[in-house]
């Protein structure tokens, strides 16, 4: 089929539009990346784009910012803290939300729909609203500033969205599977771990990405429940403190910001394909 000239023009417009938008979207991040490799004395004098005049003149780049952030800024400790906060705070709520979503989707009990809607409805509560009451209980129990306290807090806060998304997926599994499992005499817990979990991997993966990104990037909840101590503080807290204490040392901030982004980007790119499929098959039935 011969292409009409008008189709050809609109096709080119489409490409131009998309590429321009993509450049606009990525430009701020590129600026930060380049700045993080520039020596401190020039960062405040000239814009990051000036390196592009001679992009292959490697004398204008340095690894010094990364060295000082990673080895002097207490970032190593903060990175470990972040991992130690994020992994349990992702796995624990997924398990609990999965169990709850399974019971809401496939068990009959009084008040089931009402209860489920209330759980989803809790999404409206602003996090900031919960800090004072919870903190006063945590203080009485002497658990403020400990890791289990923040694991449970993130689990509670993430629960409404997780139950909602997982329910959408688990409720959509074919009924026959559950009937035949029951005929074979499988208990409900066997059904959950042998059938529901393996079949829900895409949904679980996408929910896991959301929760992981949320917890890893969280500053507020960590600030409230862990306090400002560097012993337990995550990367975001470390970077925020750098912004406060060395607000003028932009080159250090840029390197710190990239260190904090590294792991989330790896997680995102490696689980990306599940992510799109998981949402597709889940709550959204377009």
């Amino acid at each position: 089929m011969k292409k009409r000239p008008i189709a050809y023009v609109s096709r080119s417009t489409l490409h131009v539009l998309l590429i321009v938008l993509a450049i606009v979207w990525i430009l701020p991040t590129v600026g930060l990346l380049i700045t993080s490799f520039r020596p401190p004395e020039v960062v405040g004098d000239t814009g990051w784009w000036t390196v592009l005049v001679h992009p292959f003149n490697f004398t204008q780049y340095t690894l010094e910012n990364y060295r000082s952030v990673i080895f002097e800024g207490g970032m190593g400790r903060a990175f470990l803290n972040s991992l130690f906060i994020t992994v349990p705070a992702t796995l624990l709520p997924i398990l609990l939300a999965g169990l709850a979503a399974y019971s809401f989707a496939w068990m009959r009990f009084r008040g089931r729909n009402m209860l489920f809607m209330m759980v989803v409805g809790l999404m409206v509560i602003p996090l900031q609203m919960t800090f004072i009451p919870i903190l006063s209980i945590f203080a009485k129990l002497r658990v403020a500033g400990t890791f289990p306290a923040i694991w449970l807090a993130h689990a509670g806060y993430g629960m409404p969205l997780m139950v909602y998304l997982l329910h959408g997926f688990i409720a959509g599994l074919p009924r026959d599977i559950f009937d035949s499992a029951a005929i074979d005499g499988a208990s409900s817990i066997t059904t959950f771990f042998r059938i529901v979990v393996p079949l829900s991997v895409p949904a679980i993966a996408s929910v896991a990405i959301f929760q992981f990104l949320w917890v890893w990037n969280d500053l507020l909840v960590a600030l409230i429940y862990l306090g400002g101590s560097p012993n337990v503080g995550p990367v975001t807290l470390r970077v925020a403190n750098l912004v406060g204490s060395r607000g003028q040392d932009w080159e250090v901030l840029t390197a710190a910001a990239f260190v904090s982004m590294a792991l989330p980007l790896v997680v995102f790119f490696s689980l990306q394909r599940y992510f799109v499929r998981g949402i597709l098959a889940g709550s959204v039935k377009g």
């Binding site: 814009g47 019971s103 496939w106 509670g156 990104l213 990037n217 932009w250 377009g286």
Partner: protein, 289 residues
């Protein structure tokens, strides 16, 4: 499925306990606190609420929240839709999708640093290190204090950061729904002589409407609670205050728990209608199952 009566509760129980402790109880306690004085000892009636609706900073915060809800929601959802529909037609879809989604993987603190290099302001005599001002000066203009120029320029600049971060979310969800639409429908419309524009509005959009509704309400619920962008970039100075940031300040800078709680309750009341819309939609979906 014949299950004993306690079994469902054993499954849902742990999740419900966490929710009761971390969300339900604090919500109830906050409502109680909102009628008490700053230390939470003396009953003051509606005094905190009167302050919320009359204080000039609070009124600025209300205006800015309204601005966020309108502008942020409009642009995240329409850009998300634009990307979802247009990217389906090109071969480099995955690359651009990743680029648009990257900001979602970046912490607010990181994003704040990124955007400082876009909005940085230097006097006209110095060389500009912020991208926007460099472009303006390069074109012969005067540098602009993007985050200081109140009230429209700086608020829009903050909202742009939000749009940059959250369009990726809208795009991913809308794109998933778009790919679920049978291709034949679009082909049929084209064969019948519909232009792309007509095909989109008469065929595609009606089918996407439920998903657009989900994404829109989610964005509104999210943006009403907007906090971190403002906190990191201006901390509400220069007339950029929003409700959640004000609440945080009253709580942790001024230790005025009564007032902070009243702001929280007002925020909650503003969000509830969106949630009712969501729940209605869910009921309809359940009925079809």
């Amino acid at each position: 499925m014949p299950t004993r009566r306690w079994v469902p509760w054993a499954y849902a129980g742990p999740a419900l306990l966490l929710l009761a402790f971390f969300l339900v109880y604090p919500a109830i306690d906050t409502i109680r606190l909102s009628f008490l004085d700053r230390g939470g000892d003396v009953f003051v009636g509606l005094e905190n609420y009167a302050y919320v609706f009359t204080n000039s900073t609070m009124l600025t915060a209300f205006r800015n929240n309204a601005l966020w809800v309108g502008v942020f929601t409009l642009f995240t959802v329409s850009f998300g839709l634009l990307f979802a529909v247009l990217l389906d037609r090109v071969r480099y879809e995955r690359i651009i999708k990743s680029i648009v989604f990257i900001p979602m993987a970046i912490s607010m603190v990181g994003a704040g640093t990124i955007w400082k290099f876009v909005y940085a302001y230097r006097p006209a005599s110095a060389s500009q290190i912020g991208l926007l001002n460099a472009i303006i000066v390069g074109l012969g203009g005067e540098p602009v204090g993007w985050l200081i120029e109140r009230p429209w320029v700086n608020n829009f600049c903050l909202i742009i950061v939000g749009i940059w971060m959250w369009t990726g979310f809208c795009m991913v969800v809308l794109s998933a729904a778009y790919k679920n639409i049978p291709r034949q429908l679009l082909e049929a419309a084209r064969i019948d002589g519909a232009t792309e524009w007509q095909a989109f509005w008469r065929v595609i959009f009606p089918l996407l409407r439920p998903t657009v509704a989900v994404v829109t309400t989610t964005m509104i619920v999210f943006v009403l609670k907007i906090f971190d962008i403002v906190y990191v970039m201006t901390n509400g100075n220069f007339s950029t205050e929003v409700l959640a940031n004000r609440m945080y300040k009253e709580q942790f800078s001024f230790s005025n728990y009564g007032l902070a709680s009243a702001i929280a309750v007002v925020l909650l009341i503003l969000i509830i209608p969106m949630m009712i819309v969501n729940i209605r939609r869910f009921r309809r979906q359940e009925a079809m199952r």
